[in-house]
Each structure stands twice: as structure tokens, then as C-alpha cells.
Symmetry: C2
Subunit: 524 residues, 2 copies
Amino acid sequence: MEERSITRRQFLYRAAAVGGTGLLLNTMNAWGIGIASRVNAPPVLNGSGKGKRVVILGAGLAGMTAAYELGKLGYAVQVLEARDFAGGRCQTARKGFSLTELGGDKQACTFDEGHYINHGPWRIPLHHQSTLYYTRRFDVPLEVMVNDNDYSFVYLESGGPLARQRLRPAAVKADMRGHVAELLAKAVKGNMLDQELGAEDKRALLDYLAHEGQLDQADLRYKGRSGRGYAINPGAGMNPGQMSDPLGFKELLASRIGNVYSAVQDFPMQNTMFQPVGGMDAIAKAFENQVGRHIRYKAEVQSIRHGEREVVVTYKDTASGKLRTVSADYCLCTMPLSVLRHVESDFSDQFKQAIAAVAYAPVGKIGLQMKRRFWEEDDQIYGGHVLTDMEGINTISLPSSNWQRKKGVLLGYYNYQTSAIEVSAMTPSERAEFALRAGEKIFPAYRDSFESAFSVAWHRVQYNLGGWADWSEEKRQSVYPLLLKGEGRVLLAGEHLSYLGGWQAGAIESAWQQLERIHERAMA
Amino acid sequence: MEERSITRRQFLYRAAAVGGTGLLLNTMNAWGIGIASRVNAPPVLNGSGKGKRVVILGAGLAGMTAAYELGKLGYAVQVLEARDFAGGRCQTARKGFSLTELGGDKQACTFDEGHYINHGPWRIPLHHQSTLYYTRRFDVPLEVMVNDNDYSFVYLESGGPLARQRLRPAAVKADMRGHVAELLAKAVKGNMLDQELGAEDKRALLDYLAHEGQLDQADLRYKGRSGRGYAINPGAGMNPGQMSDPLGFKELLASRIGNVYSAVQDFPMQNTMFQPVGGMDAIAKAFENQVGRHIRYKAEVQSIRHGEREVVVTYKDTASGKLRTVSADYCLCTMPLSVLRHVESDFSDQFKQAIAAVAYAPVGKIGLQMKRRFWEEDDQIYGGHVLTDMEGINTISLPSSNWQRKKGVLLGYYNYQTSAIEVSAMTPSERAEFALRAGEKIFPAYRDSFESAFSVAWHRVQYNLGGWADWSEEKRQSVYPLLLKGEGRVLLAGEHLSYLGGWQAGAIESAWQQLERIHERAMA
């Protein structure tokens, strides 16, 4: 059907298939329809979907985005959700929340009132305008999530001469960059780079290096600086403070500690990001407020069959154990591919194989409630990440909410791939012990302050079976375009069909894209 | 009196006077009483101040800190405050707030409900444990103040080949550091720095440079990177995003634009800082809640006279115009020196001259209410500073509150010294026009979005007469120790008697220090 006439959109897909992204983008730019401007808001669509039925599988952010936008267009939407709550991976664990991993015991979250861990998505980049479009539209209050804190710690076990020290990233950055600036200044002054630099370039570069590295004006040497922190902070009266001594260049180099940061953070990380006040699931709840009446909860999809005229989805009502069916004109399936592969369907073998080909990332997180915010009180760390090379830990992240309150929930580890599999094999209490053994090496008060834990291993969570689609470049070439196209009356959407893997924006933008295609077909 | 026995404290002052800070700190460290640990909380004092009277001049943060702590010790405290509200410079302009500068017309703030400008102190560093001690103690809710935002703009009028462009600091940092890393890598690989670096150092340094600058693995060249921002952001479907092109090294050097940032921010600036929710004056109000019953408002100090047995302060009740006196055992004067110099007293000529010798910084700020948050909606800038070299502007700072709401109040300029004097000579509406002319060069929507302004020139504000004490190194040597010592029964406190000039922490820590001295004397 859709093959009969080539829409502009279809042409673009073909351009991409034939000429790759380059041709796609060139074509789009030639048409003046740059993608960048398109993704700040849902597609503006004309026509009504009245009388057309769309069944949406999964009430995560992709599914609810589609339900909301298609509902506004007049479609009769029905969302099937296996759980008894909406949101997909957009979850927040707080008192009353419980989780039973596959093959595991039930974990009940017992954090104090007002404390929580976002064990799924936990931060919103400032340029994810699609996510921010809905937080604004649905009036979800946001607060800053401190993603980078130079006054946190970096702690490396295999850090050579700087191993097992609690170092402030500010000091490491100041000293590495200071020493590097001094070294380059020496080369420039020694006329070693005259082939590269003209006289005016040299003057400007020396000026820059002196500024960047705060080098001594007279001899262009790095001798430490205030921003790395003081040994004694300046104060009242006769206390101008006492500078701390810089770390030596050779020690820094040998420790490889400079590799924990980079010139700027990589996209899409930013020093400050956003989190909804009170927990990430505020976004899920806001969507649910809008489309909840269209969601059938405890509806576990069993099979998807699609013919010439309609698509029929069979699901099990897990409350009653009974099988039921929903038929619709189109189906938008937002289930993770790791789950969809286990659903019976009449997809072609090629499509089934494509679904099964995509790996999902094992991802683990643990929230630890501490009865005292020792990281703030003892170490003046307010948010951000403690970076470490300890196996299975990766980061200990401090909460960006409840500043200065009595208690706090920190993230004890955030692991993926191999280490996530290892740690997830432990029981919840073993995981907590594992996290405590690491954390107490860095914070003396860690173990004594610990009250309760809540952990998740996403690859062991029913209806998710993984953190996010883990695309290889090869799979992006081979099966991604196929999955993106869908089959018959079924289209797929979710973070797995975007280049924003693992981000809520990927789910939303993918939904925008696919609902537009459904609408195009319905209007055809 | 205090000279009779040399307390440890007095010894330290002498050590500082004789041997400078170095001797002071060495002595303290030898005694194991490092200052750093001392300033996290008020001094722990024994004994009762019962029956002793202390008159405190000024209900700013220094005065209220002293009133609170001395009150807890049992002293009868009386605070004289010239204004009809407490807080000193810790003010927030919101609807209902008004200000008449000396020689100026009354400005009434007409911002919408929920919007404000902190025209005095506006950010709290994470290591200012003294300020944070009271926000915690008084349960003042804090939120993150985004002090550094790599996705804001830098806009230089005299930026050579990059003049008048809205550049993201992230791009400038990525490109400058990338090019610099490449250049140094070239020198290292070319064995130009073999005198400085051993073989292992070279390997480690090349590894670091490749990481810091994200250099191409094969040829160690810088070719741009994701963190500088994309031309087209990655999105759903067939859109992996399109990288943007790096700025050229020669253009960057010639523009001198790299000098807007540094390896790390200088102390006490941090990427994220704090602000009280709803306005900085929440701190003033929290103190006022505690000590308000001891404050006599509209009490304008006229004279200070101190004899053997007591100190007598005369003030004018500006409501009635009548002169009244207060006598006390001790006086803690927290008035700015710029104001105190105009108060009649029987201080020695030397002390009077010391007071008069200290310059105060002219400081100006303007808040502009915008009916639309175009910086967020159009440019995805959420907080932080737009850096510019435009005369009298310095920074346009975006609010770290009311994210995604309809309106917002931004800081249109933050100027000091010469440019503050020039701008402050304008009428309030001329200042707004001045700010708009600058801002509209950077943001097309600036002027059309403007609704109302509120500005302050602290050097023109009665009872302040300046932003903060502007200490020269020479004055720190000559008159600072004298002022710190006080005279007779009068001690001075405030940010001007600290090395935390202009910060609230300076006022608080100075008060802690001087109230301890009062207590020592009272107990002697």
C-alpha cells in the first residue's frame, strides 16, 4: 500500500538506505527541512483519525506519547500494558515500591518519606527538547541534576602513585592542564613549533596558555592555583587562606588519572542536567494523567497477527488469567525487542530474525539510604559523581535533592555489561554488601550510615529484559532499517529505534516519527 | 584589659603581625588547631553572658549572626538597624520591594508573582560552610544555582575573526583544548621535549592528550568532537546526527576567545552553587525569625562613644525623628566602613583614618523581567552566564529557578568599578534601555520580550554606599589589622574584616570571630 506513491518521507528513507546518512541529510538540507528543528515538538499533522483504531503495545514513554498525540488526532487508541502501572523504565523507587526480578526474591523499597532512587532514567540533557516539551506541556516541575561536580572525588585503586587517594577532580584538572600548559609554553618559547605557528599565533597562544593554566607571568611556570582548592580556606580576620600544593606532573602522568575527564563532556552529558522534582516517574505520571483512560493494565501481550484489513493482538489479563483480543487498524509496538522476540507473531522470518538480532545491555543500579549526608557534611560534596575504577561500581553518585536534610539516598553503583551481570547474580543484600565494601574505602562514614538498599538489574526485570538496545554499527546497517520500517500493519517505536539509545527522548522522538507514518497511511 | 595576659588567640594575632600569614598558619598547625576545621560552625564557648549587654550596629548577616550566638550565650543583645527590614545587602527584589538610591527616584519592583532578582548576594559556594551552617540550622531550602553552563553563549564584540558570534563555551573549550592537545602531541612525538619527558612519560602524556582532546587515534589530530555540539542532533529513525565543524585554531587564537574560561574556575566559583528557593533574602528572614525581637528598626546610628565602663550609641528613630541612646558593655559594629566613616565617634584619629582609608567597590546589577523565556525555548540555555565584552555588561545571567515557566527575570548586567559608576549615573529607565541595547545583539527576542526592570547601584544605596570593601594589598597590611582589633569597647565585624570579601560567609565568619573576642573579654 505505502509503496504505491513515494512520499517525501519515503524518499528520505530510501536516500538513507542508498546513500547513507550523508545523502539523507544533504537531501533534507536541500529541502530546507533540517531535522534539528523538527524534533523540538511533535509533528504537526492535518486530518482526523476518527474511526480508526490503533492498538499500542506498552505504556512506556513511547507508547504514551503515541497514545496522547494520536488521541488528539481523533484516533481510538488502546494501550496494552503488562504491568499495573505505566511508565516502562521510567520508574522511581520510593517507600511502597517493590520489584521482583526474574528468579529473585521480592524487594520492597523502605526508604524514608521524601527519599527515592531513579533506578531507570535519572537525568535529562538540556537539549532533549522532546522530553522537555512534555515536562513543560504537562507542567512537571524540574530541578537541576548536578551531573558534574569538580569538588567531588576521584578514587582510583589502580592509580599508580596516586592510587587510593581521594582527589578532587578540580585539583586533577587544574594540575594536569597547568602542567600541560607550561610544557607547551616551553616548546613555543623555545621556538620548537615555529613551523606550525607564526609570531602573532605564538603570542596569542602563550597568552592563552598562561590564562588557561594560570602560569606565573614571569617564567610561565605552573605553581598551583586557587581553583584546585585550598589547604586552609580563606576566612575572617587574619586568615587569607593557604594554597595547597599541586600534584606533580610525573605522578599525574604515571597515575593516568587525567583520563577521568576530558576537554568537555561528551554529548549528551552536561555539567548540569535536569530531573523532575520528587522523582523521574513524575513524567510517567504526567503522561498517565493524560492517557490513563486508554490503558489496559495487567495485559500481557501473547501474540500479534496482522492481515489485509486489521491487526489482532491477543493478551492475557494477568488478574484473571484469561486470554482476550484487541483488533485495530494499526499496531504500534513499543515493547523492548528483548521482550518482543518472545511474543508469538506472524511476522516474516526476516523480521523475526531482525528483532532477535539486537542485543540488550545488562544494567545495574543500587540506591543506598544513608541516615546522614556525610558526603555533604564531612566533605562538602553536593551532588555529582564520585568516579572510581573499582570493578562493578563505576560511579557513586550523590543526590541532587533534599540538600542538607538529615538523610539521603545515593547511587551506590551504576554498572553495565560484564560487571552488571556479575553483580546482578547476587541477592539484593549481597549487592548492598558489595556496594558498602566499595564505598567505605572512599567514605569512612559509609557503612555506619547505611540504612537500607534498593537495587535493580534491568536484564532480570520482566517486561524489560535489559537496560537499552545495545546497537553495534553492523546491526545498525543490517537490521535497524528493517525494524524501523515495520511490517504490514505493525510499526515499532521506542528508544531502540533511535540514535538516542537509552534516553527518554529516544522513546518520545521515535514515537513521534512512527505515529506520523501511521497517520500518513491512515490518510492515504 | 585584654593586653594583660596573652591568650592563645592574641598570640596568633601577634604571630601574624610579626611573621605574616606563614608564621600564623605554621603556629596554628603546630598547635593542631587548623583554621579550616574551625570555620564550619560557630565557636564553642563556655560561660554565660548573663548580665552583660552588647549593642550591635546593623542587622545584616554579621549583626544577626552575632545577635543569635550571643543571645544563646545569655547576653542581652540590642541590634540597631537603620532600615525597616533586616538583612543588609542580603536582599531580594520582588513585587512590593522598592528602593530609592541617593539622588534618585523611587523604583518599585513590579515583577510578577514568583519572580525576583537577588540584587545583592546571589550565590553560595559549596565550601562556604558557615553560610550553609545556618541554612541547615534554620531549614532554609536550597536549590542549585547554575554558575557555569557550557551550553550558554560567549559573545565578544572585539573577538577578531570570531567577533559578534554566539558561540557555545563548550565548542570553544573543546576546540581550543583539542588544538592545543594536537600541537603538544606533535611536539612530543617529534621528540622536541625529550629533555623534559622520559619514554614512559611521553607514552602517558600522548595517551592523556588523545583523551583530553579526543584526538584521532591514528594521526593524533583534532577533528572536532560530539561534546562541542552537533549541527544536527541525533534523533529517532535514520538520524544519527551530524557533527559540527570545529573552529579553526588560528581563528581561535586571533580572537583571544579562549581567555573567557580557564583550566578550572577560580576559587570560590564552582560550576554549581546554591541559592535559597524563592530568593536570597530567605536567609535574612530566617535570621530575623530568630533575633527579630532584639532588632530596633529605623534606628539610624548617629554617634558612638565609649569610656572605661560602657559604650553609648546615639541613634535617630527615623519614624519620629527623635534621638535616643543605648548603652552597653560592648558594641559590635557591623556597619560598612563606607557608612561608619560618617558616624560621629570618639575613636582615635588613627582608627578613624583607618576606617576612612578603605575603598568600597561600585557595583551595579539589573533584573529584567521577560515575558517569555526565549533563552530556554529558542536556545536551550538553562541557567548560567552569557559572557560578553560589552562595556558595562560583563555578564547576562539566566535564572536558575522557575524552569520552563512562562516568564523569567534575568540579570541584564553585573558591573563593577568604572563601568558601574557610568551606568549608575543613568536613571533606572535609561539603565534598562542600556541593558536592552546590549542584550538584543545576542538574543533577537530580547527587546520584544522585555516587561519591567529593577536595578541597583550599591554605591548609591544609603546605609551601604558600595558593594563590598575593596581591599588593596597595601591596605591589608596597613589598616586591616588595626580595624580587626577594634578600639576600646567597640569591635567591628562584617565581610570587610575577612578574606571572603563580598560573600555572606565573610560576614558570618567575621561575626563568629569577633563575638568570641567579646566573650573572652566579658569572661576575663
